[in-house]
Amino acid sequence: MGQWSRWQALYTLFSSMRFAISLLSVLAIASVVGTVLKQAEPYANYIAQFGPFWFPVFEALGLYDVYHASWFLTILAFLVLSTSSCIYRNGPSMLQEMASYRDKVTVRTLQRLPMQMTLPLEQSLQACQAQVEAYLFRHGFRYRVTARGAGGADILIAAKAGSYHRLGYLFTHCGIVVICVGGLIDGNLPLKALQWTGQKVIEVRDIPQSQVPAQSRLGPDNQSFRGNVNIPEGSSANVVFLNVGDGYFVQDLPFTVALNKFHIEHYTTGQPRDFASDIVLTDRQTGERIERTIRVNHPLIHRGIAIYQASFADGGTRMQFRAWPLFSQKPQPFDIAGVVHQSTTIHNGQTELRLEVADFRPFNIEDLSVNNTPQEPVKTAGVAARVFAQMGSGAADASRQDLRNVGPSVQFRLRDAQGQASEFSNYMLPLQLEGAWYLMSGVRASPNASFRYLRLPLDSQGRIERYMRLRALLLDAKSWPLLGQRFAAQAGGSAVTPQLRARLAESAERVLQLFATNGFQSVSDFIDQSVPEAERDKAAEIYVKVLEGVALAAWQWDNQQHTPTTSMDDPQALRFVRDTLTSVSDSFAYGAPFYVQLTQFEEVKASGLQLTRAPGQNIVYGGCLLLVLGIFVMLYIRERRLWILLQAAHSDTHAQMVVAMASNRNTLDNDQEFIHHQQAFAAMSKG
C-alpha cells in the first residue's frame, strides 16, 4: 500500500461514523473510572486502600488523576481529530447541498421517490405554473424554474425550504472542536510538558513556600492555572498552591492579596448563610490597589485571574487554657497559652504531653431536644395518621427541635511521649442538662470514632473548683480515714454503737480505696469476685449507698473548709455528689491526666481562596454557543424539497403533473405535510 493511500485509509477511518460512535462510547466509559475512584486524594489514602502491590500499578495507569492522564487526553485528541476530519469530509458537500436546488433531477428519479404522485394536467402549463409559484411562496419555499424536455416545452419547478438545516451540522461539530481546543488551552498540557522534560518537579515536602526551589515554582506568566491558598486575617499572600499528584507547585502571582477580615454569617439553624472576605489586592507592577469584598458566587477578576471565595478555616486563633490535673494529690491548676495549628508542651511532674490545638469553633448550634429523630409513635401509627401528620407547610416541625447555641469549643490532641494521642473537643461554656450545669469534654481515640463526653459538674455558683477539690479528696488515700469517720459519725443516729461506727468507717475506707483504683468498675469487679451471685444486686446497692454517703461527708467537710456561710444541707448536694462520683468514675477512662479548660480566646479566621486563570474559557463559551445554535438548527429546522414537473402533451401522452417531495429526515411530519401538498397540487392540476 502506498504512503498516500495509507493516509487516505486513516482519514476514512477517522471521519467515519462508526469510529466517532466508538470514541463517544470509550470516552463515556473512561469518564466513569474517575467518578468511581475518588480523584486527587493524598497518596497515603490510596496506599491504604489498594495495598503496596496495586498502588504503583494504578499510579502508573494515572487512575488517581484520570482526567489528566495521557491516555485520557489521547482519547480526547482522537475525538477532536475525528470530528475535524468529519467536518472536512462532509462540510463542503453540505454547503453545496444547501446552495443547490437539485434541478438536474430526471422524471425517473422523481417517480422513484417514496413521496410522489403523477396527475393529469387539465389546464395550461403556464396557468398552473403561476398557481404553483404562488403556493410555494406562501409556504416559505424558495424555488427555481427551468425548462425541460424536448424543445424546452416542459417546466420543472425545484423548490426547497429549511436548507439552513445543514448549517446545523457545521455549527455543532465545529462547536465541539472549539470546546475541546479551549479546554486543552486551560488544561495542564504545558505544565505536563515541562514535567516530562524535567524542567519542573513536583514538591512533596511540607516546607514554607519561600523555601520551595525554583524548579517547583511557576512564574506569573503561566497562562493557565487553578490553585488554592489560605490567608489568615491580617496576612497576605502572593502565591497559590497547585496540587498535582502527591505534591504541589507554587504559583507566583502578579499581585498580592491581603485579607482584612473574613465574615461568616449563619442561619438561625446554624447552617452557614454567607462567606465573604474583605480583600485588598495590590498589583506588583502598577502598584494599583483594589479593595473589594468577595463572596461565594461573586468573584473578583484582575488581569485575567479570578479570585474566588472557596472555603474558610481557623487562621490561628490564640487561646488561654487552664489545665486541671485530675489525679494528683495537690490539684493546682496551671495556665497554658495555645494557638490553633500549633502545639505546646505541658510538663506535670514526670509526665510530659504535647498539646496540639487542631481547631476552634466560635459557636456550636446543637439540637438539645430529647428526641431529635422523628418521633416513634408517628412511625408505628396507621398510614392515615402518618399522612395527616405530614400535611401542612414544608416548615420544619419546631416542636421536634430545640436548637441552641452552646458557645465556643476547641479541638485538640494530647500526645504522650510514645506518640499516642487522643482527640478532645471541649466546650467553653457550661451546658444545662436535666436541670444541672456541667462542663463538657468530648474524647475519642481515633478520628473515625464519635466523641464520648465527660461531664464535670459545677457548683451552685457555676464554678468547677468544688468538683476538683472533691475529687481530690475522694482519690487521696490520706483523706480516707477522715472521710470514713465523718461518714460513720452521721450514720444511723444514737442507737449505733461505737464499735459499729468503727466498722462502718473501716468499710467506707475500703470502698473508697476500691473506687479510687478504677471507679465504679473496680467496685463492681470486687463484688463479682467476692459476693455470691444471688446477693450481688443488693451488695451493689449498699456499696453505692456507702459511696454516696462518704462523698456527701466529703462535700460537707469541704463546705466547712471553704464556704462556711453555705448551709449544711443544700438540696442540690446529693445531685452534685452523685454527678461527682459518676464523673470521677468516668475520668478513669478519659485518657488524659488533665482537664484542659478553655478560658479565653482571640479569634483569627482564615479565608480559603481559589485563584484561576483560564484563557480558554471564552473560547469554550463560544464553542458552546455554536453547539447550542447548531443543535437547534439541526433538530428544529426540517429540510424539505419539492419538485413539480409540468409536462406538456406529447404525441403519445397527455399533459401531466409530477409532484415529488424529499427530506433528509424521515419523520411522520413529512408524510403529513406531503398529504397536504398533494391536495393543493391536485386542485391546481384541475385548474
Binding site: V32, R273, Q390, G392, A395, F632, L635, H676, Q678
Partner: protein, 385 residues
C-alpha cells in the same frame, strides 16, 4: 395515477399569525404582562438584574408556550388563583398552615404534594385499566387525573416557595434546591411533557407506560418524606444562592423528563416488537417518531443545562469544568444520547436496537440524577441521601 388521500390539516402547516389569536390568548398575554409588571414594580428592588431578566423571559416563554398549547393557559389561571388564595389564607404566618382548613387539607405545600401523589396513582390506575380493558373513557380519565396531579404538584411547589419566605426572609428560595424538591419537579415536568405529546399525537395508550416512571418517583418522594423527613424546607448553602439555579435546574429536568418518557415509549415499542398489545398500542412508526422527538427535545435542553451548569460552576467554584462526578455523569449522559442521535439520523438505525438503547439511557440518566448523590461525593453534594 395515485389517488389523492382524505384531507387533513397537519399541525406543521397551520400557520397562525399574531392577529389570528383568540381573545383568550390575548387576555392571557396581557394578564401575564401586567401581573409581572406589578411584581417588578413592587418587588423589583429585592431582585438583582439577572432575576428581573429571568422573570421577563419566563413571561415571554409562558405566553409562547400557551399560545402554542392552549391547555397551559388554563393551568396558569388555576395556579395564579390558588397562589393568591394561599397568600390570602396565610396572612404572612406560616403557623396558619395548621389552623386554616383549606391550607391544612388542600393547598399548603406538603398537603398539595400529597394530593399530587394521590392523583398520579389514580391516573396510573385509570391509564392501565383503560389500556388493558380497552375502555377509552378510562384512558381519557387518566389524562384528566394526570392534569389534576400536575396542577397539585405545581401548587405544592409554588406555595412551598412562598412558605420558605414565611419561615424567614433569608431562608426564602425557589423550591428546586434539593433532591426532594427536584423529584417533585421531575414528576411535574415528565407529566407535562407527556401530556403535550399525548395531545399532539393522540396516543393516550402510552400514558400507562409513562406513569410507571412517575409512580417510581412518587414512591421515592413518599419514602424520602416518611422515612427521612426530607420534605422540610432547608435554607440554602451559599454556593446555591444564585440566579443560575433558576435556569440550570429546570433545563436539566426537561432533559431528564424527556429521556424518561423516551425510555417508557421504548418499552412499549419493545412489547409491540414482540407481538404484544399490537392491537392497542400505537404503530411502531408513530412510537419511533415520538421517541426521536422526545429525545431531540431532551438532548437540546440537556445540552443547554450542562452549559449553564458549567457557566455557574465558573462563577461559584472557580472553574467551568472540574470533572466533579455530577459533571462527569452529565457528560456521559450527553455522549450517550449524542451517539443515539447519530445512530438514528446518520446510520438510519430503527427498531429494537434504538429502543433498548433508550431504555439503557434511562438507567444512565437515573444514575446521573440520583446515583451520583447516593454513591459518589463531590462538589455537588447538596442532595445527599
Amino acid at each position: 395515477m395515485s389517488s389523492v388521500p382524505e384531507p387533513v390539516e397537519p399541525e406543521v402547516l397551520v400557520a397562525r399569525g399574531l392577529f389570528k389569536r383568540s381573545v383568550w390568548d390575548w387576555c392571557y398575554a396581557v394578564g401575564l404582562v401586567l401581573g409581572s409588571g406589578w411584581v417588578l414594580q413592587r418587588f423589583g428592588q429585592w431582585m438583582d438584574g439577572y432575576e428581573q431578566v429571568i422573570l421577563v423571559a419566563a413571561v415571554v416563554a409562558l405566553i409562547t408556550l400557551a399560545w402554542h398549547w392552549s391547555a397551559i393557559r388554563n393551568l396558569m389561571w388555576v395556579l395564579i388563583a390558588v397562589s393568591l388564595c394561599s397568600v390570602y389564607w396565610y396572612q404572612g404566618q406560616i403557623a396558619r398552615a395548621q389552623e386554616v382548613f383549606f391550607l391544612k387539607y388542600l393547598i399548603s405545600s406538603q398537603t398539595a404534594i400529597m394530593w399530587m401523589c394521590f392523583f398520579y396513582a389514580l391516573s396510573a390506575l385509570s391509564y392501565w385499566s383503560g389500556l388493558l380493558g380497552r375502555v377509552a373513557a378510562l384512558t381519557a380519565a387518566g389524562t384528566r387525573l394526570l392534569w389534576v396531579g400536575v396542577t397539585a404538584g405545581l401548587v405544592g411547589l409554588l406555595v412551598r416557595w412562598y412558605e420558605s419566605y414565611l419561615i424567614s426572609v433569608d431562608v426564602g428560595h425557589i423550591p428546586i434546591s434539593n433532591l426532594y424538591e427536584v423529584f417533585v419537579l421531575f414528576t411535574i415536568i415528565t407529566g407535562l411533557l407527556y401530556l403535550y405529546y399525548e395531545a399532539r399525537y393522540a396516543t393516550r395508550q402510552l400514558g400507562a407506560f409513562v406513569m410507571l416512571v412517575v409512580l417510581a418517583a412518587v414512591w421515592f418522594i413518599l419514602w424520602y418524606t416518611f422515612d427521612r423527613g426530607a420534605h422540610e424546607i432547608q435554607p440554602l448553602v451559599p454556593a446555591l444562592q444564585s440566579w443560575w439555579m433558576k435556569i440550570h435546574v429546570p433545563a436539566n429536568f426537561i432533559g431528564y423528563g424527556s429521556f424518561a418518557i423516551a425510555a417508557m415509549i421504548a418499552c412499549a415499542a419493545l412489547l409491540v416488537d414482540r407481538g404484544w398489545l399490537t392491537q392497542i398500542l400505537p404503530t411502531p412508526a408513530v412510537m419511533d417518531d415520538l421517541m426521536y422527538k422526545v429525545i431531540a427535545l431532551g438532548f437540546t435542553f440537556f445540552t443547554i443545562a450542562t452549559i449553564l451548569g458549567a457557566m455557574w460552576a465558573a462563577e461559584a467554584w472557580g472553574g467551568y469544568w472540574s470533572w466533579d462526578p455530577k459533571e462527569t455523569w452529565a457528560l456521559i449522559v450527553w455522549l450517550n444520547y449524542a451517539a443515539w442521535l447519530h445512530m438514528r439520523l446518520i446510520k438510519g438505525v430503527r427498531g429494537p436496537l434504538l429502543a433498548w438503547w433508550a431504555v439503557i439511557g434511562l438507567f444512565v440518566t437515573m444514575f446521573a440524577f440520583v446515583g451520583v448523590n447516593m454513591f459518589l461525593s463531590g462538589l455537588h453534594s447538596y442532595g445527599q441521601l
